[in-house]
């Protein structure tokens, strides 16, 4: 049951082989047994989950089921869900019970999916290891000494450990793809604007995009069909025709042109990751794809550009946390300014404060042109590199992350080392393109390796097709951590 695809689960629910209440309870039991060791969830609310499951069962009985009706989905704790504690991994929101639903949550609710719980994450989605969460680190189910990646580390660990059927995530600089790679699962960040940001706690608004984490590309397609859609409350939500993201899954890959950016296979890429990715490319050749070398000459600049733009936007977005209307307020203060300063100093963790300070600095008088404007100009150069590449190829492939999962505490006190681990994912956000990661093997330490697939704007169906055909020919996506197997 825990390895069934969403399509199979849906058929079993429709055929009354299992009820949503039973399926939800099965996952809640697994969570009770395994989550204390993994810390993938911040908040569980079995009463609310089971109430949704009962409603789903009624809906199925009435013959009104949709593809995801009755399926238990874990929600990253960045999505506001009415009546659920929504913390964003921060002490600042440790007691925040959301009074409303994010659009993404509404989409899942309308489809009759079950909210199984809120998953752990780096504080305000700022991190690549899930070590900045106020609610403690998440352990990688493949090796509890290793990080699960971040910021959607709880969602990735929950999917890998079969503690949910699928999960949501968000990706500002790689926060879906990198943890998906490090936990050996499939993850998809759609084109910027495909999923609404309404009710998704803002980090860097021009880069933030909601997406999905699941066990296969086929599952991702089904989930995106539910999650995507126009929402007038997000001014950057795109008004587009509804599409079926699963429509191309079964197409053969004959003639698919795959571009390999030489910059993604250069110094800094560990050899075991390179080997697994090269083996995946060889598999694609067997499946009929044509492989060509391309160049993204400005991609190395994506990290400096990102660490100007994302903190700048974050410093503005996070100014709303002032201890007045909701969120943490310091217990003692002298006056209003003191209340702001103490509430924010005590409510935010170190990484969040660092990024607020970077952002405040680059936006401050006298530095705006040298940093913010300069970064926006290079952002265009980075986007132009992709535009040029997509005149030659249909999809771009390469590693998702330069290494497999590193150990907890390994990147310790040096934020720069941590930032460099997102070298292959950030450029995709700057350009606003869709990106995926699928599991393509294991490194020397037996930890999963992710293959990144980058598509042109709105090429999700094509990317999912490429991923699905690979998953039909290989079984990396079916591997599961030994300790969770069979439990």
């Amino acid at each position: 049951m825990i390895n069934a695809s969403l399509k199979q689960l849906s058929a079993q629910l429709a055929g009354k082989k299992i009820s949503s209440v039973e399926l939800t309870q099965l996952y809640l039991d697994r969570i009770a047994a395994l989550n204390p060791g993994l810390n993938a969830y911040i908040t569980l609310n079995p009463d609310m989950s089971l109430a949704q499951a009962r409603a789903a069962d009624e809906r199925i009985a009435q013959g009104r089921a949709q593809a995801l009706t009755g399926i238990p989905v874990a929600q990253k704790d960045i999505f506001c869900a009415k009546g659920w504690r929504t913390t964003c991994g921060s002490k600042m929101l440790a007691n925040f019970i959301s009074p409303y639903d994010a659009h993404v949550i509404e989409q899942f609710n309308r489809a009759g999916a079950v909210n199984l719980g809120k998953t752990n994450m780096d504080e305000f989605a700022m991190g690549s290891s899930n070590e900045t969460s106020y609610f403690g680190v998440v352990k990688n189910p493949w090796n509890r000494n290793a990080v699960p990646g971040g910021s959607s580390g709880g969602s990735a660990a929950a999917v890998a450990a079969r503690l949910c059927a699928a999960a949501t995530g968000t990706d500002t600089g790689g926060s879906i793809r990198q943890p998906a790679a490090l936990c050996g699962i499939s993850g998809l960040k759609p084109t910027y604007g495909v999923c609404s940001r309404y009710g998704m706690i803002a980090f860097a608004s021009s880069l933030d995009q909601a997406g999905l984490m699941a066990r296969s590309a086929e599952d991702l397609a089904l989930l995106l069909n539910t999650m995507a859609g126009f929402d007038e409350r997000d001014s950057t939500s795109l008004q587009r025709e509804k599409e079926d993201y699963a429509r191309d899954l079964s197409k053969p890959l004959n003639g698919l042109r795959i571009g390999l950016p030489k910059e993604f296979f250069a110094e800094g890429l560990s050899s075991d990751v390179a080997q697994a990715v090269e083996a995946a490319i060889a598999e694609y050749r067997k499946l009929g794809a044509r492989v060509m070398d391309i160049s993204l000459p400005n991609s190395r600049l994506s990290i400096p550009v990102y660490y100007v733009l994302a903190p700048a936007e974050a410093s503005s977005n996070l100014s709303r946390f002032d201890g007045v209307r909701y969120g943490y307020r310091a217990p003692d203060y002298a006056d209003l300014t003191d209340m702001y300063e103490k509430s924010r100093a005590q409510g935010f963790g170190e990484e969040v404060k660092r990024r607020i300070m970077i952002g405040t600095y680059v936006l401050s008088h006298g530095y705006y042109d040298a940093y913010y404007l300069k970064a926006q100009k290079i952002r265009r150069l980075i986007a132009q590199d992709f535009a040029a590449a997509f005149t030659q190829c249909d999809v771009i492939m390469g590693p998702t992350s330069p290494t497999t999962a590193f150990n907890l505490g390994e990147k310790g006190d040096d934020p720069v080392q941590m930032y460099l681990s997102d070298i292959y994912t950030i450029a995709v956000n700057l350009a606003g393109l869709p990106g995926m990661s699928i599991s393509c093997g294991f490194g020397t330490n037996n930890m999963p390796v992710g293959l990144q697939i980058i598509g042109n704007y709105f090429a999700e169906a094509r990317m999912l097709n490429a991923a699905h055909q690979y998953q039909l020919a290989t079984d990396w996506h079916q591997k599961m951590p030994a300790e969770v197997n069979g439990k």
Binding site: P304, R380, L381
Partner: protein, 95 residues
């Protein structure tokens, strides 16, 4: 443009983040490393390049100016740090 400790203290103040001397020192060391990384940008020739603020070249959508939300004051104030008689309480700002 090396970052000074005074820059860090000024930025912390602008960002409304209380910082002790020790915290400012630590932040200074870490932010200096990050700005070292960011400095790579300065070598790039960006003459004539339009800044890119957004992934999609779309204009901001406008909506009709009408009431879309219902009043949920009690619900919203139920999660506030301090309220009284339907008002949010803050320290006195007017003498």
């Amino acid at each position: 443009m090396p970052l000074t400790i005074d820059d860090v203290k000024k930025v912390a103040r602008l960002a409304r983040l209380a910082a002790t001397e020790q915290e400012a020192q630590t932040a200074h060391a870490q932010l200096s490393g990050i700005f070292g990384l960011i400095a790579e940008m300065q070598a790039v020739d960006t003459a004539g390049i339009e800044p890119m603020s957004h992934a999609q070249e779309v204009t901001q959508r406008l909506r009709e100016d009408r009431v879309t939300e219902t009043n949920q004051r009690e619900l919203f104030q139920s999660i506030a740090p301090q309220v009284e008689a339907g008002l949010y309480l803050v320290p006195k700002v007017i003498e």
